[in-house]
């Protein structure tokens, strides 16, 4: 019980410090790729949603492998939960 109270206070202190100390700072990752995407995505892909433009055009391999992972996990679920009456 005592340990939980200590952990809770530590959690809250960390959270409060994160919320109130880093209040007004705006930390954006200043990468050239992000700038390029934001400026050019409409011209390149004709999509209005930047996220769709990225995952269907610039980063196509990402979504291909994401669906591959889903396929693999479905196969795994089917094989692990195998039962004898499954054959018919």
């Amino acid at each position: 019980m005592k340990r939980r109270a200590i952990v809770f206070t530590v959690c809250m202190l960390v959270a409060l410090s994160v919320i109130f100390i880093y209040n007004d700072t705006s930390h954006f990752a200043d990468s050239p790729a992000a700038k390029y995407y934001i400026e050019n995505f409409k011209k390149d892909t004709f999509a209005e949603n930047a996220v769709a433009a990225i995952y269907l055009n610039y980063r196509m391999f990402d979504s291909i492998f994401e669906t591959l992972i889903l396929l693999v996990s479905v196969t795994a679920v089917i094989n692990f939960s195998w039962r004898r009456d499954d054959e018919q």
């Binding site: 959270a15 919320i19 949603n49 996220v51």
Partner: protein, 182 residues
């Protein structure tokens, strides 16, 4: 201001969901956590992630948690008290402080899911009609526990209660055979 309140709520919810003993409570806490977090995503300008969180958090992940919880055995405990006519919060809290918390933590340690049902019906009626694993009947400091004789978990509970006796309460075990009930 709004986002700060919701962020603090998220921290509190995550802490509680990790620290409850009963797993079905933490399913509910995680449901609220996903609700709040999807609104925080909206506040930070990520509606795509918010929709995904809304759909997955409200329907699919709840189902998966519950399927995992199905593996646990649920131990149904009825709690009746001879001195009260109506159930109020104070009655529940007093009952928990006296005996229920001990029984509950015993079953949690044995990796089972205790489900406590508070009722004002007469304990004889519950004994005759309902389907239960353990019935606790309290009359001031006299506590009687009714249970099935074949259930070996109850033997363990009895041994545990004998080892750590409560100073204020007199506990007494009454066991019946499986065929007796109906």
């Amino acid at each position: 201001m709004t986002e700060k309140i919701f962020l603090i709520l998220m921290v509190v919810l995550a802490f509680i969901a990790l620290n409850t003993q009963k797993l079905r409570r933490s399913v509910i806490y995680l449901g609220i956590f996903s609700l709040v977090s999807s609104f925080v995503y909206l506040l930070y300008g990520a509606p795509d992630v918010a929709i995904a969180e809304a759909v997955i958090g409200s329907a699919i992940s709840t189902v998966l948690y519950l399927v995992a919880l199905k593996k646990y055995r649920v131990f149904t405990i009825y709690y009746t008290n001879a001195n009260y006519n109506q159930i109020r919060d104070g009655y529940i809290i007093r009952g928990r402080a006296q005996i229920l918390r001990e029984v509950e933590s015993f079953f949690v340690r044995k990796e089972m899911e205790p489900q406590i049902i508070y009722t004002t019906e007469d304990y004889k009626k519950v004994l005759a009609e309902e389907n239960f694993d353990l019935l606790i009947h309290q009359d001031y400091d006299q506590v009687r526990l009714y249970g099935n004789a074949e259930d070996y978990q109850l033997d363990a509970l009895e041994a545990h209660m004998c080892e750590n006796p409560n100073e204020l309460l007199k506990t007494e075990f009454i066991k019946f055979e499986a065929g007796d009930k109906n």
